[in-house]
């Protein structure tokens, strides 16, 4: 579809216009870091962010608490489904996270489609943002093939100095742009500057993986007994931070919460983590992944093999969040490289 130009000065009016009709979620400053959250004022939007603590999917598509049902207790108990969705514009999504959302889309539409995810997804327009500089030394998007994207967005922005080029990805995106934004058609000069920006960016991003990421599933298939797992198990604190910040981690718990009068309640979906002790515990007391080494192995396998086996996409997009957040300095790239070097 066509290429449009959005002057930087036109971003604030656009956000203001969108806020009237949508929940607009974008990157904002949070202390010295950044986080996706609903915008109430265009001034809060920080499209110059490097990375966010949590991925955008977890701000919109996978809330930490999500109602699945409400119920009434008492003599005639009853349960009602809850499928909540809010028309949302998700602004400023980096392409690593955009790839992750495509993984989630497959997981939640496969076999038994998950209406709670899919309804909110259907109500969400994604405006993604091309990264021109690495967010920090921990990301490895270039290795994972997520440094750019040619699908999965409704609109895609690239910074060309005093303006953004806007690539229209869907008809919904085009309609949004027409209704809410002041844009011009891109000139030849604009296109030239876009091409310059895009070709200039690649050398700034370093390769950190010492092999082709496409080899990961096959590599991990023979790495089950690698000594790395024991080493990681010794260091891992089993805190679950790595899975909490991961844009493709979607495992969940389901809990019932009841009001004080014990007359009604809600069934809630909450984030869960395969790194936690009780994740694979069964009623008989057997825990099938008791060792922390086995839990770390499971995480690596999920990211590099199991999710790939399930939906045909790697479960790691190279965002680097698990590396940044790990208190024990467990580094997934180093882990993959170690396996590649000695497996």
């Amino acid at each position: 579809m066509s290429l449009k130009i959005l002057d930087k000065g036109a971003v604030a009016p656009l956000v203001n216009a969108l806020i009237a009709d949508y929940q607009v979620v974008g990157p904002q400053a949070k202390g010295p870091q950044f986080a996706f959250g609903p915008l109430s004022d265009p001034a809060e939007l920080r499209l110059d962010y490097n990375t966010t603590i949590l991925p955008p999917s977890k701000a919109v598509l996978q809330p930490s608490y999500e109602r699945l049902a409400t119920f009434r207790l008492g003599d005639d108990p009853a349960v009602e489904p809850v499928v909540e969705s809010v028309p949302t514009v998700l602004l400023g999504v980096h392409t690593c996270d955009l790839h992750a959302i495509q993984v989630l889309d497959k997981v939640f539409s496969q076999d038994h489609p998950d209406a709670n995810y899919l309804e909110q997804r259907a109500q969400t327009l994604i405006v993604s943002l091309e990264c021109l500089r690495p967010c920090d030394e921990n990301s490895f998007c270039k290795d994972m093939g997520t440094l750019t994207a040619d699908e999965g967005y409704d609109l895609h922005l690239t910074d060309i100095g005093d303006a953004y080029t806007v690539h229209v990805g869907t008809e919904r995106g085009e309609a949004l742009l027409e209704k809410y934004a002041q844009t011009q058609l891109a000139t030849e000069a604009n296109v030239r500057r876009l091409n310059e920006a895009l070709s200039a960016k690649w050398p700034h991003f370093k390769h950190r993986l010492e092999f082709d990421a496409a080899e990961l599933p096959a590599l991990l298939a023979t790495a089950y007994d690698h000594p790395l797992w024991d080493e990681l198990g010794e260091r891992c604190l089993a805190c679950g931070s790595c899975t909490n910040v991961c844009p493709t981690c979607y495992c969940f718990n389901v809990v019932d919460e009841v009001n004080m009068a014990l007359t009604e309640g809600e069934r809630l979906r909450t984030w869960d983590s395969c790194q936690l002790d009780e994740f694979a515990l069964v009623a008989g007391g057997e825990s099938f992944r008791q060792a922390r080494s086995a839990r770390q192995r499971h995480r690596f396998m999920r990211k590099g093999k199991y999710i790939y086996d399930k939906v045909g996409e790697l479960g790691c997009v190279g965002c680097g969040r698990c590396i940044r957040t790990c208190l024990a300095h467990i580094n997934i790239v180093d882990g993959f490289n170690t396996i590649h070097g000695t497996a």
């Binding site: 009853a78 809850v82 939640f108 038994h112 209406a115 019932d256 009841v258 009623a283 057997e286």
Partner: protein, 275 residues
């Protein structure tokens, strides 16, 4: 778009509650408007006690004996099963399912079938055993080798007596430790296998029990030459969705809820987290 939630349980009624052992009760559950669950032996439901939570429970009744209801044999073990045990006839529970792959009964017709349940492992196998007995003519030998820790832990004593009394069923029962009420066989389940002569190519074996039991029962079954593809196991895992999303039941790259809970030994023998 109005979407239907895969997480919505159907409210069902406890039609009967029967104490089976000190720890296990048998719940007969009726779905609304008398409609049938439509399950295969070996499948499970996600059972809700509203306000407490949801847990996966294998179905113990045979589809051939549904009568507009189904049965769950449940050990009091956690929050949901504890709350269920406190419920009375007429109380309402939530039901989702049936889910998962059950036992492929069509692959068992015309063959000898050996059942080797241990303890509470009889609960899921009973569904298949009664289906097989209701179509008795379609199968060759039917052998049931059942072991429990103690006599008071044996499930379904009346049915066990019937199976023992039948001429067309070879049913042998053992307990790890006997007591003054027990004049039957004493010893672990594997001590029942010795005298059983098996035509391995024409035999299908079905086992379910605690993880430690599988190792020894499998040794017996494989030792008799039964092919790995003809040995079926039903595995237990924690589940929060039942439909391949929540991640809890994952066994390496397999999902117990969707790929199982019934697996052949051939399917899982190289899956390290399975047993």
């Amino acid at each position: 778009m109005t979407a239907s939630s895969i997480y919505l349980p159907e409210m069902a009624r406890l039609a009967q509650v029967e104490q089976v052992t000190a720890l296990e009760k048998l719940f007969t559950i009726e779905l609304p408007e008398g409609h049938s669950l439509g399950h295969d032996p070996g499948q499970f439901v996600m059972l809700s006690v509203l306000g407490v939570g949801e847990a996966p429970i294998s179905i113990t009744s045979s589809p051939s004996r549904s009568n507009g209801s189904f049965e769950l044999c449940v050990r009091r073990a956690g929050d949901v099963t504890g709350a269920l045990h406190r419920m009375q006839v007429g109380d309402r529970v939530g039901v989702r399912g049936p889910f998962g792959h059950g036992f492929p009964i069509e692959k068992m017709r015309g063959k000898d079938v050996i059942f080797a349940p241990g303890g509470l492992g009889l609960a899921p196998l009973r569904s298949l055993i009664n289906q097989v007995l209701d179509e008795r003519g379609s199968f060759e030998r039917v052998v049931i080798l059942y072991g429990a820790k103690r006599p008071e832990e044996l499930l379904f004593r009346d049915e066990l007596d019937e199976w023992v009394a039948r001429d067309d069923v070879e049913c042998h029962i053992t307990v790890d430790r006997g007591d003054e009420t027990w004049d039957g066989h004493v010893g672990v389940i594997t001590t029942l296998f010795g005298p059983i002569a098996v035509d391995p190519r024409n035999t299908v074996a079905v086992t379910c029990g605690p993880p430690i039991m599988y190792r020894f029962v499998l040794m017996e079954l494989l030792g008799k030459g039964i092919p790995e593809t003809q040995i079926y196991l039903s595995l237990e895992r924690r589940m929060k969705c039942g439909v391949g999303k929540c991640g809890h039941c994952q066994i390496n790259d397999l999902y117990c809820c969707q790929d199982g809970p019934v697996f052949t030994y051939a399917q899982i023998k190289n899956v390290p987290e399975a047993l």
